[in-house]
């Protein structure tokens, strides 16, 4: 007697909850999602093509523009790939300084994730609190390299400068208050009934499916596997630090939330260890002025960015410009899991899931 029909609606590309210019084509049965088709490319700037036409050193500023919420992680991945291509050993002091900055970047990135994820689901209060602390991270980055978002804070072979006077003290002050702040956020969300109703059981994915889809970072670890590049393919001197990889048990949005909260604490732990045992010595290895890796040299360098595995593949043809640069962006691969995650959920849950996989569209589209 009664018949329902499926409805196709469009979400985005200009939508406040899509964290950029992401378009989703939703096929709905009532309010239940039958299928989600992400349409991407609105922010495609051809970074890989641009990189082929620039010198090795001039590519680093381009990488800032990939994931503009965690520019340091992208710098790190690219610079590390060039160092691997050349066989350059980064001095221990520079390695430790990189770890400090990378983990500070992770905290800043997770704070902006927390703010916007909360805002998307309707927990507005958290937004300003998290941005208050993120502001302090950005101030620290500004103190180090002069920029607040697009840092270009690394050089091939090391770091450009020592931490400025008073910088480590400011960082310590920030780290001292961070646990209290995280505890504050948790009082707002962790036990909050509305928050739990919106996140628990939403977007459950099992470890096998998540691995197959190429998910990495907290999105994968929510499903109960402890795969983290910092442990499984350690770079810089991550092997020297004690830290835990938080994993979830159910693989839902709530687990992924808890993991990112814990990761901020672990990042703080790593920074404190690195500051404590900051080695002396040079901060920049000797690298030829004109970088010309031999023909046929290829290198793949994996890092754990705040969003997952960020890797760069470089191919050299013996000239001073890279022959091919491939940016493996965690967001591109994590977004690929969105259709699987959102099947069978409500329209409003899509917003929670986009926040949960933590994408930055600059990183997706490159």
């Amino acid at each position: 007697m009664y018949q329902t029909s499926e409805l196709e609606i469009n979400m985005g590309p200009q939508h406040p909850a899509t964290h950029g210019v992401l378009r989703l084509v939703l096929r709905l049965d009532g309010e239940t999602i039958v299928e989600v088709k992400p349409v991407i490319g609105y922010l495609h700037r051809g970074v890989e093509k641009l990189s082929e036409n620039r010198g090795y050193r001039s590519v680093t500023p381009l990488t800032d523009r990939l994931d503009y919420c965690a520019a340091f992680a992208e710098n790190h991945s690219y610079v590390g790939a060039v160092e691997k291509l050349l066989g350059v050993e980064v001095p221990p002091r520079a390695q430790a300084m990189r770890v400090v900055l990378a983990e500070l970047q992770r905290i800043a990135s997770h704070l902006i994730w927390l703010a916007t994820h909360g805002l998307d689901i309707g927990a507005m209060t958290i937004f300003l609190y998290a941005f208050r602390e993120r502001e302090k991270c950005l101030d620290l980055f500004e103190g180090y390299c002069g920029a607040r978002l697009t840092y270009n804070a690394l050089r091939i072979g090391g770091v450009p400068q020592e931490f400025p006077d008073g910088w480590t003290e400011a960082l310590r002050r920030f780290l001292d208050e961070l646990p209290t702040r995280i505890a504050q956020y948790e009082t707002l969300l962790t036990g909050n009934r509305i928050w739990r109703l919106r996140t628990e059981g939403v977007g459950v994915i099992d470890a096998r499916t998540a691995l197959g889809l190429g998910l990495t970072g907290p999105t994968l670890r929510g499903s109960g596997v402890d795969y983290d590049v910092r442990k499984y393919a350690p770079y810089e001197n991550y092997r020297d630090y004690a830290f835990d990889i938080p994993v979830g048990s159910k693989g839902d949005t709530y687990d992924r939330y808890l993991i990112r909260m814990e990761e901020m604490r672990q990042s703080r732990r790593i920074i404190l260890q690195a500051l404590e045992a900051l080695p002396d010595g040079p901060i920049l290895a000797k690298v030829a002025g004109r970088i010309r890796p031999p023909k046929g040299a290829e290198a793949y360098f994996m890092t754990e960015s705040p969003r997952g595995e960020m890797s760069v593949y470089l191919v050299s043809d013996g000239t001073d410009k890279p022959y091919r640069v491939r940016f493996r962006s965690p967001c591109f691969n994590n977004l690929q899991g969105l259709p699987t995650l959102s099947k069978g959920h409500m329209v409003a849950d899509v917003v929670a899931l986009i926040g949960s996989i933590d994408i930055v569209l600059g990183c997706v589209d490159r």
């Binding site: 889809l213 393919a233 690298v287 793949y300 994996m302």
Partner: protein, 197 residues
């Protein structure tokens, strides 16, 4: 895989950091570069033993084994690499296409970066083809290849046989040409898109 617990082999073979980049042109062919030294890879040994005939070329750079396989053997080799207990490449980190026009007989190259979380090994597998000859998709082996192969199709124009939805992904559907080809100008071609240029 206890010997793989230190999965950062590039440093040991290259202790002198400065000389390597200082004289790359002189050391091009004559003296083999220390970075090109062979590294031990249990996965590669297994691959050589079982699928030795499928391997066209094996070389190394900075501890990364680069293996080229024939187009026809791609799917059996990849399935083997995923399932064999000493390989277990459960993570297709990325795959991408490169245009190498100097190699006229097969100018397009697809590179698959495989990482094994359990055994902590990294391996790059390459396949060469032409614009006309499709290569088999690996999206049935690793679903994550789906979008990456679409991007390779979009940017370089490699076609994949058996791909579930081989359409453009980053560029608009009515774009003509493939921007990551060497002959594609950096600032685009007039008329490559109807609306935006």
């Amino acid at each position: 895989m206890s010997d793989q617990d230190q999965p950062k082999p590039p440093q040991p073979p290259a202790p002198p950091p400065a000389p390597a980049p200082a004289a790359p042109a002189a050391a091009k062919e004559k003296a083999p570069d220390p970075l090109a030294a062979e590294v031990s890879s249990p996965a590669l040994e297994r691959l050589r033993a079982v699928h030795g005939a499928a391997l066209v070329e094996v070389r190394f750079w900075a501890g990364l084994p680069l293996v080229e396989v024939g187009r026809e053997q791609l799917v059996p080799v990849m399935t083997f690499l995923r399932d064999d207990p000493s390989c277990r490449f459960d993570h297709l980190s990325t795959c991408f296409a490169t245009d190498v026009p100097e190699r006229a007989e097969a100018p397009l190259e697809m590179t698959y970066c495989l990482f094994s979380w359990p055994t902590r090994q990294l391996l790059a597998v390459k396949v060469r083809t032409t614009a006309e000859t499709p290569i088999p998709t690996v999206s049935a082996i690793w679903p994550s290849a789906d979008w990456n192969e679409r991007e390779a199709f979009d940017m370089v124009g490699i076609r994949f046989q058996g791909h579930p939805n081989l359409t453009r992904i980053l560029l608009p559907d009515d774009w003509t040409g493939h921007p990551l080809r060497r002959d594609y100008p950096l600032e685009g071609k007039p008329g490559d898109h109807k609306v935006y240029r």
